[in-house]
Symmetry: C2
């Protein structure tokens, strides 16, 4: 897999509100995948936002390594995966983080306001593209 930084054409694909799945590793070493929203920032990091009570947040605190696959096309074949590490986990006290993600994907602020959430900032170390995103 090519190393970061992301080429401009890959960044352009990832910048869209694509359906995506994140992978983490549980403390027993098994892989765990779940659908997620993500946001590619201008600095090349990726913002994730998790409910503070989720098991995968505990997984990330235990092992910060993460993989994210974005399904980027209607053609069934364009997808981009990035691998990296969560470099910070901060309380999303005013829900500004999840609201950014929600607006990116839905155009609206996040509907659920009564659950504690955290922002997880991912440093991208590697990427791989397929289809129109092929290296």
């Amino acid at each position: 897999m090519p190393a970061a930084p992301l080429p401009a054409e890959i960044a352009a694909i990832l910048a869209r509100p694509n359906p995506a799945v994140m992978g983490t590793v549980a403390p027993d070493g098994r892989p765990v995948t779940v659908a997620t929203w993500y946001l590619l920032e201008d600095d090349g990091t990726v913002l994730l936002n998790l409910d503070a009570g989720r098991a995968r947040l505990a997984h990330l605190r235990h092992d910060p390594r993460v993989s994210l696959t974005a399904l980027a096309g209607d053609d069934w074949y364009t997808h981009v995966s990035v691998q990296g590490e969560v470099v910070s986990i901060t309380d999303d006290e005013d829900l500004a983080g999840i609201d950014r993600l929600s607006r990116h994907y839905t155009g609206n602020p996040y509907a659920v306001r009564d659950r504690a959430r955290v922002n997880a900032r991912v440093r991208v170390d590697r990427w791989h593209g397929w289809g129109a995103a092929r290296a």
Copy 2:
């Protein structure tokens, strides 16, 4: 996460040709995700099919644990994840395996005929559903 077997309504969702991402663990312990086709069999196992030269096949031979997330709805919120183990890896000598998957997703046999492939059979141990697939 609930244990297998899958409830009928979850199996019905997974039986569709959903966009999906599989997660494996590399030998260094990092999670690896990639888009994949999959097929839920009548016996509750999941068929995956991989190019014989892919790194993630080596990952699966090293650690058979796998996670699969299927994005099952247009509503952005229905998704199902299953976790389990690859219990067999067999050569797809006549490409019958990838042709089954290709027909399931595209209606046609698989176009690429000159690359060796393998079938990987996954035993599902746990599942988790969201949205319309919520437990």
